[in-house]
């Protein structure tokens, strides 16, 4: 059977506010347990929530970035369930009137095609605390630091049709929220978590199959792997004539499998109702428009500009604009180099390679965009060749100084003096008389192959500093005799 996969994603992004959604406690990862809590976060009777202005601004900003309708009057609702890390007995969320309504994103796939993914809504809600199941006298430990941390839950339409498309969509959301500065995007610390709704249907069928929900996947790679393994599991069941049970599952990266979370039959009876402690949030058009005016250039706009302004290919423009830090690095370096293609190649090539090796993000690179640009200028003006430049980049990376200082100190300047090159070549020809004889006796095709030997000798003698663009024609001429 030929199956079509149908995927919808719910992405929880933690908003980078200083204080909590409904209280004045600090927000932060890694603090001592229960040191960032208040009476509101603990769910103490009589403690009333007050809504954080900044969380509202961030949500509206996101709405603009995905071309969405903004909820001019949004309402908080209580989602009721019992769990020890939620002492109030309900999560304050939004149901019928979310802050961000219908929108969409155009997602660029690896093969260069674009697909539009609809976004159903994005709503504000508070996070719960954390349960620690290590052995505390046979009990569970509760840390409520995360309680009431602001989340924006972004719900997509079931528009996604492959694991690759899902990852491309999540990467795009990641890039937008980090561009907007509303989320730090740190997936390892849980700042972005993804729930995957997935079902299969025979190709061509209109109705959706029964779906499962894979909870809390927190890396791009795991999202892709979880989807592949869940597709396989569902296809196996369906092909054996079985039925999919609608349930919540967990992805286990170590075993690369999803497994059922034991959940009570009525676990999903949340009995939403409007929160009586919070009044409707009413926005003015002036406020909403004012935020729109503060939107920074978004990744897709930047990519388009990189193509039109710098003449970059679509692929290069997309890679460079995927992170704001990388895009800024590229642009700053290129103001010095003034050769966008050269700068793009080196940012995406050698610099990215070093960053990967050291597992660093570009914002933490030990080479500044300015220092990087100064290095590329020396390639552009033929002071050094590309091979030497790699060594110089490594030296800048190691803190040995600026490009010019390193080139000077190590004597790496390319030899561009034709007289010097001629003299060098003459020495080599004299020392290899036999090879020169053979070369002169050979036909043209063979000569082309044989010249590599002489080029190699020249580069060796010059310690890589001879300008290859000059060596080749001079050598050919001198070999003719």
């Amino acid at each position: 059977m030929n199956w079509e996969v149908v995927i919808g994603l719910e992405i929880h992004t933690q908003l980078s506010t200083k204080s909590k959604l409904f209280s004045g406690a600090a927000v932060g990862f890694g603090a001592e347990p229960n040191t960032q809590t208040t009476l509101v976060d603990l769910g103490m009777p009589g403690a009333l929530p007050v809504f954080n202005k900044e969380a509202l601004r961030m949500a509206v900003m996101f709405g603009h970035a995905i071309n969405a309708e903004i909820g001019m009057s949004s309402v908080f609702a209580r989602k009721n369930y019992f769990y020890p890390d939620l002492p109030k007995g309900y999560q304050t969320s939004q149901m019928d009137h979310p802050i961000v309504g219908k929108g969409y994103l155009d997602v660029m796939l690896e093969d260069g095609t674009t697909s539009r993914v609809g976004i159903t809504r994005a709503h504000l809600e508070e996070d719960a605390g954390k349960s620690l199941h290590e052995d505390f006298q046979g009990m569970t430990g509760i840390d409520l630091n995360r309680s009431s941390t602001p989340l924006l839950e972004i719900v997509s339409e079931p528009d996604i049709r492959s694991a690759k498309e899902a990852v491309a969509y999540v990467k795009m959301i990641h890039s937008i929220v980090t561009y907007l500065g509303i989320c730090d995007g740190n997936m390892a610390e849980g700042s972005m978590r993804c729930d995957i709704n997935l079902s299969l249907r025979p190709k061509g069928q209109k109705e959706y199959g029964t779906r499962t929900e894979i909870k809390n996947v927190n890396s791009f790679r795991f999202i892709e792997k979880a989807i592949y393994t869940e597709i396989e599991r569902q296809a196996d069941i369906l092909e054996d004539g079985g039925r999919i049970i609608q349930e919540t599952r967990l992805y286990d990266p170590e075993k690369n499998e999803t497994r059922s979370m034991r959940s009570k039959e009525d676990a999903n009876d949340y009995r939403y109702f409007p929160c009586p402690d919070l009044l409707p949030v009413v926005l003015t058009q002036e406020y909403v428009d004012g935020i729109k005016a503060t939107l920074p250039e978004l990744p897709s706009q930047k990519a388009a500009r990189f193509q039109s302004e710098h003449g970059l290919s679509e692929y290069d423009a997309n890679v460079l604009s995927s992170s704001r830090a990388m895009a800024d690095f590229f642009e700053t370096a290129n103001t010095i180099v003034a050769d966008a293609k050269l700068t793009a190649n080196w940012v995406m090539g050698e610099l990215s390679k070093l960053l990967n090796q050291e597992q660093l993000e570009i914002e933490n690179a030990p080479v500044s965009a300015k220092a990087f640009g100064e290095l590329l200028v020396r390639i552009k003006d033929n002071t050094i060749n590309g091979k030497t430049a790699k060594d110089v980049l490594q030296a800048i990376w190691n803190g040995e100084g600026s490009a010019d200082e390193i080139i000077e100190a190590k004597g790496l300047k390319q030899v561009t003096d034709t007289g010097a090159i001629e003299a060098m070549i003459q020495t080599i020809l004299d020392a290899n008389a036999a090879q020169v004889e053979q070369y002169r006796a050979a036909d043209e095709d063979k000569q082309k192959k044989m010249i590599g030997f002489f080029v190699g000798q020249v580069m060796k003698a010059s310690q890589g500093k001879a300008n290859p663009g000059l060596v080749n024609p001079i050598l050919t001429k001198m070999l003719k005799g």
Binding site: G24, N34, K53, N80, F82, M139, T140, L144, P276, L279
Partner: protein, 95 residues
């Protein structure tokens, strides 16, 4: 409108309340009469009436994004029956 005993037990379970048989009988009766009142209200023609999510004619006040609260962990933990390493301890939950 009336609800049966099973509904009452389910609602009680969702609220984590233990009901005796006698309690359940009484709640079945009183909840049913609340629902009858709701039913009566639902018969009112509300065409053209804006749904109301809060009876106060006011909108939500906003708070500046400033950390105003200090760490009061010791005071909070003092109320808990059992604590360890700065954590509240609760009966083991497995889910």
């Amino acid at each position: 409108m009336s609800i049966d005993k099973q509904d009452v037990q389910k609602i009680a379970h969702l609220a984590r309340l233990a009901l005796t048989e006698a309690d359940a009988d009484q709640y079945q009766h009183s909840l049913s009469s609340v629902l009858s009142l709701v039913e009566q209200m639902q018969s009112v023609d509300t065409d053209g009436v804006e749904p109301l999510s809060n009876p106060l004619e006011m909108t939500q006040r906003l708070r500046e994004d400033i950390v105003t609260e200090e760490n009061r962990r010791d005071a909070f933990l003092a109320n808990a029956p059992q604590t360890e390493a700065g954590l509240f301890l609760v009966p083991k939950v497995i889910d």
